[in-house]
């Protein structure tokens, strides 16, 4: 079996996939959820642990206030209703990276419920429901490979144990792998804007499990679902879902039945594997956590927390489009991250033409970033540099050719635009007499074109502008040049 379609498209089309996603997000607090150990990625193994997160007898958890604030911010950003009184519960299971033998989570009374995200689909905007958002703690990390005795031993690092998480569970509203991808992209964007998480999938601060089933189109009842785990990029989620949908259709079309099970995604092979867990293995025996009181977040408290709510990406794009007269596409690029949008807005407000700033980002900057394989945040040219370039171009002090050259240099030498400009300050010929002299030269050399122009073919002016620009090695002031060429030819 492989990822390539082994099922005929017309068979696939008979079925409708039903997908729900569970996303775990680590919160960017200084400390863990229930103890004061530092919540930091990458510390030497087992150096950020204490009696609470090691689950030593007698140690008691105390909830991190900041984690609650972050959960409330995220919940509201995802349009959830926030519960004033939520309850922590113990989820019981045995695994070596869970020293207490239970995970502190929330069960029947989570902090938030009934939210939604709007995503773009080929058929227009679609609302994906969010069933719930609850708080819980992360487990430690088990390392199964890479040690001389890995054949017989698993190594455990408990630094991550107790890291505050929110789990966001979607309704089974998603119908295609593309919608799942869009949902995750939007979710990540919103969470990044709220600042509650860095959503770094490589470091595991955002993780996603997918529940997927298929049913004959038109049937109301859901099919039997499989849960796909171990997928560590949005691209892989799409691939894993595509694979899993085909697998299930194949099973059903072959006269079989889909079994409810957990399957692991193997990115190297591009397929999912059954974990073959024991039947009935999962019974978490949730019960209220006796070591923690109910979490009370009153309406007043919520209001105070929500004062820190930033403008969210969707609203920001709408505002920027009208405020700076930019296109929806511009707005999409410029709001890729909150930091970048902030920089753009600061630059655009100071610049003479925000539209020109947006254009430079969209064309000159984006193109070069792509070529250099850089992210926006890694750009050698800052938004301040872009704004400076935009102003110089706006004032006619820089031809577009000169601007392109300066951008090239900035990228080659990894310097900001301002530095390159100050050093290389391209000579611009702004002396009318000097330009007129060049124009005369070109006119004298191209009598045929002059004739065409004077016969009424005004577009030939562009030819003269181009020739003079070439002669001036790109240094003629473009607006002055345009003006003088017309004047000379009309004379």
């Amino acid at each position: 079996m492989s990822t390539t379609a082994s099922v005929a498209p017309e068979l696939l089309a008979k079925y409708e996939p039903v997908i729900g996603l569970e996303v775990h997000v680590q919160l960017l607090t200084q400390t863990k959820a229930f103890c004061g150990c530092s919540n930091k990625f990458g510390a030497p193994p087992n150096t950020l642990v204490c009696p609470v997160c090691l689950g030593l007898p007698g140690a008691l958890p105390v909830l991190n206030k900041r984690a609650v604030e972050f959960a409330v911010l995220a919940a509201r950003a995802l349009n959830c209703e926030i519960r004033e009184r939520s309850i922590f519960a113990r989820k019981n299971y045995f695994y070596p990276d869970l020293p207490k033998g239970y995970q502190i989570s929330q069960f029947d009374k989570p902090i938030a419920e009934h939210g939604w995200i709007d995503v773009d689909t080929p058929n227009g905007e679609k609302r994906i429901g969010i069933t719930r958002l609850h708080m819980e703690e992360d487990a430690g990390k088990s390392i199964h490979d890479g040690f001389p005795d890995s054949a017989t031993r698993t190594y455990v690092d408990l630094n991550r144990c107790g890291t505050p998480l929110i789990e966001i569970v979607s309704e089974p509203d998603i119908r295609t792998p593309d919608e799942a991808y869009e949902y995750l992209t939007k979710l990540k964007e919103i969470l990044l804007y709220t600042g509650v998480s860095d959503c770094n999938m490589e470091e595991g601060s955002l993780r996603c499990d997918a529940n997927v089933s298929v049913r004959p189109r038109g049937q109301e009842k859901f099919g039997t679902k499989a849960e796909v785990k171990n997928v560590n990029s949005f691209r892989f989620i799409r691939a894993a879902l595509e694979y899993e949908i085909e697998r299930q259709v194949e099973v059903i079309e072959g006269g079989g039945r889909v079994v409810q099970e957990t399957r692991l995604w193997n990115a190297n092979e591009g397929r999912t594997y059954s974990m073959r867990s024991k039947e009935q293995a999962h019974d978490y025996r949730y019960f209220p956590e006796p070591d923690l009181p109910p979490l009370i977040v009153t309406a007043d408290k919520q209001a105070a927390i929500l004062q820190d709510m930033p403008e969210l990406p969707e609203a920001r794009r709408k505002r920027m489009i009208s405020e700076y007269e930019i296109t929806a596409q511009d707005a999409q690029t410029l709001t890729a991250t909150r930091a970048f949008a902030d920089q753009f807005e600061a630059a655009a407000k100071a610049a003479k033409s925000p539209k020109r700033v947006a254009n430079l980002v969209q064309s000159e900057l984006t193109m070069r970033l792509k070529a250099a394989n850089l992210e926006l945040e890694q750009s050698p040219i800052t938004m301040k540099g872009i704004a400076q370039a935009a102003d110089l171009a706006e004032e006619g002090k820089l031809s577009s050719k000169q601007l392109k050259q300066l951008f090239d240099t900035a990228f080659e030498r990894n310097e900001d635009f301002g530095i390159v400009y100050e050093r290389e300050k391209p000579q611009q010929i702004s002396d009318p007499a000097a330009i007129e002299k060049l124009i005369d030269e070109v006119i004298a050399g191209n009598p045929k074109q002059v004739e065409q122009y004077r016969a009424g073919k005004k577009t030939v002016a562009a030819f003269f502008v181009g020739q003079v620009m070439k002669l001036s090695k790109g240094q003629a002031n473009p607006s002055l040049l345009n003006e003088l060429v017309a004047k000379k030819l009309d004379a």
Binding site: T31, P44, N46, V62, R153, S277
Partner: protein, 100 residues
């Protein structure tokens, strides 16, 4: 006394709790659990329709049971590993885990 907990129930709960019981212990567990549940049954006769469930009493103290997000010193690793059943001084080591 009504028999609400069966031997199968006890075996299932023991499995979930990773306990290995002898058949003698199983018999005792069936008896004890039925006695406990019988007592709970007795309490169920109370009308609690309008009473909020209370899992613990910390709430009654009335103060906010939250902690400021300030870093506290963690334990020294050598002290932690001194209590580990098996370690290389850096990691906890456990028998190979296959199923997750």
């Amino acid at each position: 006394m009504t028999q609400t907990v069966t031997t199968e129930d006890v075996q299932r709960v023991a499995e979930l709790a990773s306990l290995e019981l002898t058949s003698e212990e199983e018999t005792r567990m069936v008896r004890d659990l039925n006695a406990i549940l019988g007592y709970v049954q007795h309490m169920n006769e109370l009308n609690t329709a309008n009473i909020e469930p209370m899992a613990q009493v910390g709430e009654l103290a009335g103060h906010e049971a939250l902690r400021p997000d300030d870093v506290a010193t963690s334990l020294r690793r050598d002290a932690v590993m001194a209590g580990a059943p098996e370690t290389d001084g850096v990691f906890f080591k456990v028998p190979k885990v296959i199923e997750r």
